[in-house]
Symmetry: D2
Subunit: 143 residues, 4 copies
């Protein structure tokens, strides 16, 4: 396994709720921001093209376990690892930390799709993207 | 002026913030939901077509004054009035009430656009939509 | 197992993303709205007191599987079932449908807490709430 | 007038909508993030205390004009200026730019409050905060 990709995210006021903590749904938004920063670290965007075809990544699964609350203005470090790369899908794992405290761990699985007739159609991950995912995964990919 | 269009909206937990109140940005989301319910009351959608052209309504202005906080699970009544209909734009006004208490008043102005080459292009409001807006406005439209 | 509790939710424009679909994080907000409507159906609120103690329910886990995209203005039916009731925790399951199409299934686990010295402190579910959960679960609760 | 305070904000995917642009309500969230970064630049937090009293800043007004759409992953620069400092209120102005393109201008007015019996109670801005606002405003404050 390669080194995780690290992303810093300060908790926004609007992302807290009346219980005074980061709302549980917003962890998923922060996971997504981390993933997009991971792509940008290669000079790529999650929102890309394979030749003429637009590439998009609808989620098929997401999950999160919460260990400690996160609060307004706290500076979180989110560590992304590539857990699995399939022919058409990728699974990312995320660990949220505030200094030495583990706040949460999450996971998202997305499928590589193009768009045809306004519908998502799964396609193999384009080689340029796959190569980055395989390298980050640090293991032969399993389908 | 015709009767305002009324929309009921209960304050969601995720829309509150750590100060224990509906976050000021979320009033704009509730205004938009009210506007879309207004269009549906005519059997229309804000997301429509004029012949083959997609019609969309990017905002050019929005504003809100806040008189009293709104809290989780409160049942708000949002009254929409059509304040102005131009050739290509419409201005809505919104009053938020909780029973006899006035919570906020807001205002949004949107421009009727189609999309060409991935860019918004202003167009005259299609007659089918304009007729409903004029009737709701209850006054000769001023440009 | 008792009958599921049903909640109708129309997809809001602001909850869609540039891929044209309900953003995956917003399913969690709709699950939470469903849960709060479930409590209200008993004349209760998720935001309650046990005697003098405030009761709040921070999440310890959430997950969702997505089968088909949901789009703007679609009318979703979300079916809540109480999957498990522990001494201090409850797990809800949610099925999202658009007519006969299954859109997604989700799951959240929350822990019953009071607040002491600004920290969440787990407590047994107050009897008045537990009775409703047990009845909805329709099975002897397992811890 | 002093120099504006500058804040960089990249447009998040979840903040876009199905029209492919930053949703108009999310400009208000980015204004608020800018304001909180402004306070942090003095080593302060918007979420503070005046002696024993908690200080919070509910909004009484907000507005925004939109000149050009902002899109996913664009890097916006948001310039905050302190437009007015009253005894109990402050008005901030925000200009959103993407390189040389002006995207939007916004404005928020908030009232300095403490909390008594679960209600907001307006109070004079504590001297330590006021001094920073006056300096940033660069003009004798007008009430």
């Amino acid at each position: 396994m390669s080194q995780p990709f690290l992303y810093n995210r300060r908790v926004s006021f609007a992302d807290t709720d009346m219980a005074g903590i980061l709302h549980f749904s917003n962890y998923y938004r922060y996971m997504e921001e981390t993933e997009h920063a991971f792509w940008r670290s290669f000079g790529l965007s999650v929102n890309t093209k394979d030749g003429d075809r637009p590439i998009t990544w609808p989620r098929v699964a997401s999950s999160c376990e919460y260990f400690a609350p996160a609060k307004f203005e706290e500076d979180l470090v989110i560590a992304l690892t590539v857990a699995n790369v399939g022919d058409r899908s990728v699974t990312f794992e995320f660990e949220f930390r505030r200094e030495s405290t583990r706040i949460a761990i999450g996971r998202t699985t997305a499928v590589c799709c193009t768009i045809e007739d306004d519908e998502f159609k799964p396609v193999s991950i384009p080689p340029g993207l796959r190569e980055k995912l395989d390298a980050a995964c640090g293991a032969p990919s399993a389908d």
